[in-house]
């Protein structure tokens, strides 16, 4: 345990600093407010009409909201540092690029959890109002964190491409949207390709988990997407020099 702690000490230093710096700028507060407003509005609008004690709508809406929210959180991570030049200071400290990427990623994941925390209030309210099935809710939250992590790794990668945060945001949104969208256009694909493209989409795997069934394949999908993009981000900042 101590060995592990020693190994990830630098990652934790970076993560702590990055997490704190989310709350120095107003961006974090704006993102939280916008997320809760949009998610809350679209969830509760039809909720009372349907009159069903479930959060299925909440989790079917979440992936598309995340497509826009997560890149907004990650866009500044590297782009701002490259723009102000502080990356030069960071990169010349005795620290591995991997630790920098992992630290920033970790901070973002914790932030995503924080973002989701207030929505637990919906679940508790609904469980008072009616008979809530907790399985899909717990699955949904696990899926949300996994999905958020995958999008965060995409956002981190695109943030290393440019010193312009807007460009980083737009590329990240496009990539995340493509992954969300891909299993929605299966009707246009030849039959042999359908299952392949279905497996590529984030939403397919997310909805599986959100049903309350945490399948190994879905976990593997999110973990491998996350690692792939984080590794690409590490290579990208290495390549910069």
């Amino acid at each position: 345990m101590n060995e592990l702690k020693e190994k990830f000490k630098m990652t934790l230093h970076i993560a702590t600093k990055e997490f704190k710096s989310y709350f120095i700028s107003p961006v974090a507060y704006i993102v939280i407010v916008v997320f809760l407003l949009v998610q809350g509005w679209f969830f509760f609008m039809p909720f009372f009409l349907k009159n069903q004690a479930e959060m299925r709508d909440f989790f079917s809406l979440l992936p598309i909201i995340f497509v826009f929210i997560i890149p907004a959180i990650t866009m500044r991570q590297f782009a701002e540092e490259i723009n102000t030049g502080s990356f030069e200071l960071l990169a010349t400290l005795p620290i591995k690029y991997r630790d920098i990427v992992l630290g920033k990623f970790l901070a973002t994941v914790v932030f995503i959890k924080l973002l989701l925390l207030p929505t637990l209030f919906y679940a508790f309210t609904i469980s008072i109002l009616g008979d809530l099935d907790w399985g899909p809710v717990i699955g949904g939250y696990i899926g949300a964190v996994l999905l958020g992590s995958a999008y965060a790794s995409i956002g981190l990668l695109t943030s290393t491409f440019t010193k312009n945060q807007i460009i980083a945001f737009i590329i990240a949104v496009s990539l995340c949207f493509a992954l969300w969208f891909i299993d929605k256009v299966l009707v246009f694909m030849p039959d042999v390709m359908v299952s392949f493209f279905q497996m590529l989409g984030t939403d397919y795997h997310f909805q599986n988990i959100a049903k309350g069934v945490v399948d190994f394949r879905d976990l593997l999908y999110f973990i491998s997407v996350t690692f792939m993009f984080l590794y690409a981000a590490e290579l990208s900042i290495q390549e910069k020099n």
């Binding site: 230093h13 700028s25 502080s86 030069e88 200071l89 010349t92 400290l93 005795p94 591995k96």
Partner: protein, 312 residues
């Protein structure tokens, strides 16, 4: 053994050669000034040295560690202050230094930050946001950042650029103070800067080394010429010139305008290192002229710099 060994370093940005086949050996305890016009390759050399960018060709070893293959070891030995100190503007000075101390694995963080705050004169701004600081204070925070782990080597890229004269003197004092125990490489395009702080000067021009030596050496090598300015009355220029031509080392005598009327101004260019002023004085004493000014002006590093870096 030398601290830093640069062998045949070349760095190209696409087709542009920023640093062209430089070899240097820097001993422990030296304060070396990298001097050159803008775009000469000073910053690039320093960036390669601290393993921020990779060399196209050539090797650098820092205390035996190869910069390319052991970047972490090298980074531990080096404290680096980039040009204009790009710090995290939204952090407080104390928080920032504490963060750097953690990454640098400093043992007693509080004690070290207090030491640096005293050394760099940061005590009054410890709880201010870095964004709110003046440029001079930012530069001092940058210095504190570079010195955090008490590294053996300090790389300072234009440490005083953009500062006002008082701030420049303060930063120079700090550099001198820490320079007694460390190897420092300092880049600048300002000559007086280098002359004031460094004991070795390397002049870089268009990516190549144009000169290397102590400031005194460089001045001597440039020809050892000195100029003696005279202001006298009681003789016109031609009479004075004829009389003063007897001085053996004088190469040429030129007329100079004097600010005060009624005086004759002369500029005597002498070729040798020996001082000709006593001889000049004797000639004047034996005549009936009045001496108003006699001043020796040796070739400054500025002349050397211009000579070496002007476009041919």
């Amino acid at each position: 053994m030398s601290m830093i060994e640069i062998t045949n370093l070349t760095k190209m940005y696409g087709p542009v050669t920023a640093v062209d086949d430089i070899s240097l050996s820097i001993g422990a305890g030296q304060i070396m000034g990298l001097l050159g016009p803008n775009g000469a390759g000073k910053s690039t050399t320093i960036k390669v040295l601290c393993s921020y960018i990779q060399a196209t060709r050539g090797t650098i070893t820092v205390k035996g560690h190869n910069v390319e293959t052991e970047p972490l070891e090298v980074k531990k030995l080096i404290g680096y202050l980039p040009e204009s100190a790009p710090l995290y503007g939204d952090m407080m000075v104390f928080d920032y230094l504490a963060y750097v101390a953690e990454i640098r694995e400093v043992q007693d963080v509080g004690k070290r930050i207090r030491e640096l705050a005293n050394l760099c004169g940061l005590r009054t701004v410890m709880h201010k946001n870095i964004n709110e600081l003046s440029k001079g204070f930012k530069q001092r925070v940058g210095l504190a950042h570079a010195m955090m782990s008490n590294p053996e080597i300090l790389l300072l890229d234009e440490p005083t650029s953009g500062l006002d004269p008082n701030q420049i003197i303060e930063i120079r004092e700090i550099i001198k103070e820490i320079g007694s125990q460390k190897t420092i490489i300092l880049s600048s395009h300002i000559l007086s800067e280098i002359e004031a702080t460094c004991n070795r000067v390397v002049i870089i021009n268009k990516g190549k080394i144009a000169a290397d030596g102590t400031t005194a050496q460089l001045k001597r090598d440039s020809g050892g010429e000195s100029i003696i300015n005279l202001e006298i009355s009681g003789a016109d220029f031609n009479t004075a010139k004829a009389a003063l031509s007897q001085v053996t080392a004088v190469k040429e005598i030129n007329q100079v305008q004097c600010k005060e009327s009624g005086l004759t101004g002369l500029a005597m260019v002498t070729g040798s290192a020996e001082d000709v002023r006593p001889e000049v004085y004797r000639i004047i004493k034996n005549s009936d002229w009045n001496l108003f000014t006699m001043q020796k002006e040796s070739r400054s590093l500025e002349n050397v710099f211009q000579l070496l870096t002007k476009n041919v």
